[in-house]
Amino acid sequence: MNVLVYLVPLALGLGLAGLFGFLWALRSGQYSDVEGAALRILNDDDVENKG
């Protein structure tokens, strides 16, 4: 059962990473326009400009 000593903190660490990812996404406004994000990905004008 000694394996738990690092497996549990590892699981917690991964969970925390997910939580901070979520909080970061929230702070950078990625949830403010959910419908728009779904449509913007189809817009490839930026690709043409570069290439």
Partner: protein, 722 residues
């Protein structure tokens, strides 16, 4: 005359010294619009940033300050086929956005904690059933505590703060028992863990927070969505005013007007602010203010109210201080009285929580005493009592009503009804009497052609195309009939008289009888007419206030719902009678002042009736405030709309009936949900009192009941079909 647009009022400075502006954009229909709008605006010199929020149809533009004219953004949008309406975000809306972010953060933390603690708890439950050692279990419990305590301290704040506020005000709400339950569950689990117990309730406490936060976040999201739409509509409605500054006329937003400003009001425009006429003569339609459909002649020195429609001539207006007008003062006085007299009936959720908390806390106390009397140890008695509190923790109860409200306001939103007040659904469901205003509510807000089928279609089409070149409100009604919206070339409007154009070498005229030389044409009494002549063709086109297209069906539907219908109008009896007859409403009153309308509503209230008032005029505002619940069309006067519990969009009257149907269904579901919660407790509490509850049972019971209540609430989606 060219007029510059001055939008500097809407430009907001940010921290870097740049300026920004928000615009509600009309005409955004598909994903391609995003690129088109942002691309076009970014091409303007000086623009640093342009981002369209597709969800709420708003464009945020940032520029480097300096010489840039924000009016050019609106012009650019216009050139690309969109309409942009600048606005300043309301304080309330910004506060809601901040609150929504806070709730989502709490939800994220609670979700993370719930998942990780559940991971540990499931291990403990399986371990308890097999061969887990005490040390491992303790390790798992301490790890749970490490996650649960900070998470609850963070994610529980919305509940703890609300509970604290309620207690400080010496009342109670649903958050009080929630907070007590969570805190006790955590404290007990901590003590139990320290004593190497087999069971701890960290998972129950955190899961409870997670479920409740989900409910609250959804409720908030729904409210923000309707708030955003309402904000856009307000921006769309905000009129511009033509202000004289120096020798030229500048178009400015109405919000920028000050007392003493001189304004130009062209024919066919609404008067943007209260004022006195400095020069010019005209007729104004004040139906939005008084409900009176007959027009009033005005001359220099007369007072006009914001929202009046100018008919014939250009006016110069001197803006008077807001509230200086006697009519507005009277209405505001009545509004104050109505608001103070309005007894806020206690809402279902408050009633439930007021019964719930004492009952549950008494049960827990009795359980503790009972076990002590039966000879149990202090430890066992207290643990059982806390288990009772945890199992009854009002997860289902706290979700029962908000869940239905969220789903029902979504259903209303799809039926073109936007709620202003969250508890309006319950009050709508209770209404047994509906009072309609006539002008602008039962009838369309602007006049329409009547008897179009009695006129030769080709003649009507010509008249309509010619009328496209006029700004006169009656001509606008005729122009609506035009199949092709292409005006005749070289059409000339003679203000106050009519329009003329040469079509195929012959002059066509539309306007007053005298202008068209058509005085001999038969005209219907009591109606306004636009006359049209072209060679030997001639017609008198009658224009009048007409009923909303589905008014008759909607009234019949409301009657079938068992509602008592009445009309109270500020208009003349001879204008109200035909409407009442057409709709089959025999209880109607005409020529009523705002105070009379309130008086009649008060009488109905004394009879024990719950009145739904539907009105749009400024004169209806006090009546809307006095009624049990109120609706107004989106075309209503601003002050009136602010009083209404909900606003409906579009030309149809159907949303009124829809709203009642959805609200009644929602009310039924709220009742059902409360009963579901009661039944759940009736089953779970005896088990808890008997001391048989384990954390596993608590977790199952809590998620099961929450799920059941939420699923039941989803049935409110099937709104309009009933």
């Amino acid at each position: 005359m060219t007029t510059a647009i001055d939008l500097s009022l809407y430009a907001q400075p940010d921290d870097d010294g740049r300026l920004s502006m928000d615009l509600a954009v009309e005409g955004v229909t598909c994903g391609a619009c995003i690129g088109r709008i942002e691309g076009a605006v970014k091409q303007l010199p000086g623009i640093a940033e342009a981002r369209l929020n597709y969800t709420n149809r708003r464009l945020h533009v940032v520029w480097a300050g300096g010489a840039f004219e924000p009016g050019r953004i609106v012009e650019t949008l216009e050139a690309n086929g969109y309409h942009g309406h600048p606005f300043v975000p309301l304080r309330a809306e910004e506060e809601e956005a901040a609150e929504a972010r806070r709730l989502t953060r709490c939800l994220g933390v609670a979700g993370f904690a719930a998942m990780n603690i559940m991971l540990l708890s499931v291990s403990v439950w399986s371990g308890n059933a097999s061969d887990m050692t005490g040390e491992t279990r303790d390790f798992f419990h301490w790890a749970s505590a490490l996650i649960a305590l900070p998470a609850a301290a963070y994610a529980g704040r919305p509940f703890f703060q609300s509970a604290w506020r309620a207690l400080k005000a010496r009342t109670t709400n649903m958050d009080v028992p929630i907070s007590i339950g969570v805190v006790l569950a955590l404290a007990m689990s901590l003590v139990e863990t320290a004593h190497h117990a087999r069971e701890a309730y960290f998972d129950s406490a955190i899961m409870l927070l997670f479920f409740l936060l989900t409910g609250r976040a959804l409720e908030h999201a729904m409210r923000r969505r309707t708030r955003a739409v309402a904000g856009n509509l307000a921006a769309l409605k905000a009129d511009a005013a033509h202000r004289f500054s120096g020798g030229e006329v500048v178009t400015v937003p109405v919000a920028a007007l000050r007392a003493g400003d001189k304004l130009l009001v062209k024919p066919g425009e609404r008067v943007p602010a209260d004022g006195t006429i400095a020069s010019g003569r005209s007729e104004v339609d004040e139906s939005l203010i008084t409900g009176e459909t007959a027009r009033r002649r005005i001359a220099p020195g007369d007072t006009v109210y914001a929202g009046s429609l100018n008919y014939d001539g250009a006016l110069t207006l001197t803006v008077t201080a807001a509230g200086g007008a006697s009519l507005i003062d009277e209405i505001e006085k009545l509004l104050e009285k109505a608001a103070s007299a309005r007894s806020r009936a206690m809402r279902l959720a408050d009633r439930a929580s007021r019964i719930y908390a004492p009952v549950v806390h008494a049960t827990a106390a009795l359980t503790c005493i009972g076990w002590l009397l039966a000879g149990a140890s202090w430890h066992d008695a207290i643990v059982t009592a806390i288990a009772v509190l945890i199992i009854t923790c009002p997860c289902a109860l706290a979700l029962a009503i908000p869940a239905v409200q969220v789903v029902a306001s979504g259903a209303l939103f799809r039926s073109n009804v936007i709620l202003n007040a969250g508890d309006a659904i319950e009050r709508l469901a209770e209404a047994d009497t509906v009072i309609f205003d006539k002008t602008g509510t039962l009838t369309l807000p602007d006049p329409r052609v009547v008897g179009a089928d009695t006129i030769d279609p080709a003649t009507l089409q010509m008249a309509a195309r010619l009328a496209l070149s006029s700004r006169h409100p009656l001509a606008n009604a005729v122009a609506r009939e035009a199949a092709t919206r292409v005006p005749y070339e070289g059409a000339v409007e003679e203000p106050g008289r009519g329009v003329r154009a040469i079509v195929d070498g012959v002059e066509a005229r539309a306007g007053s009888a005298e202008f068209c030389g058509a005085a001999e044409l038969v005209s219907l009494p009591g109606l306004s007419h636009i006359y049209f002549t072209y060679g030997e063709r001639a017609a008198a086109i009658a224009v009048a206030q007409t009923l909303r297209p589905d008014a008759v069906e909607t009234i019949a539907r409301l009657r079938a719902l068992g509602l008592d219908l009445r009309i109270l109008s500020g208009d003349r009896p001879e204008a109200v009678r035909p409407v009442a007859t057409a709709l089959g409403i025999d209880k109607w009153g005409a020529a009523l002042k705002p105070a009379d309308k309130i008086g009649l509503i008060e009488d109905l209230k004394r009879e024990g009736r719950l009145v739904l008032m539907v009105g749009d005029g400024l004169n209806d505002a006090p009546a809307l405030a006095a009624a049990h619940v109120s609706l107004s069309p989106i075309s209503a006067a601003d002050l009136t709309q602010a009083q209404a519990d909900a606003v409906f969009l579009g030309e149809r009257l159907a949303p009124v009936a829809e709203a009642v149907v959805v609200a009644r269904r929602a009310r039924v579901l709220m009742g059902q949900n409360l009963w579901l919660a009661v039944v759940y407790n009736a089953v779970a509490v005896p088990i808890a009192i008997a001391g048989l509850v384990t954390p596993l049972i608590a977790a199952l019971a809590m998620s099961g009941s929450s799920l059941l209540v939420t699923l039941n609430a989803l049935r409110a989606r099937r709104g309009g079909a009933a």
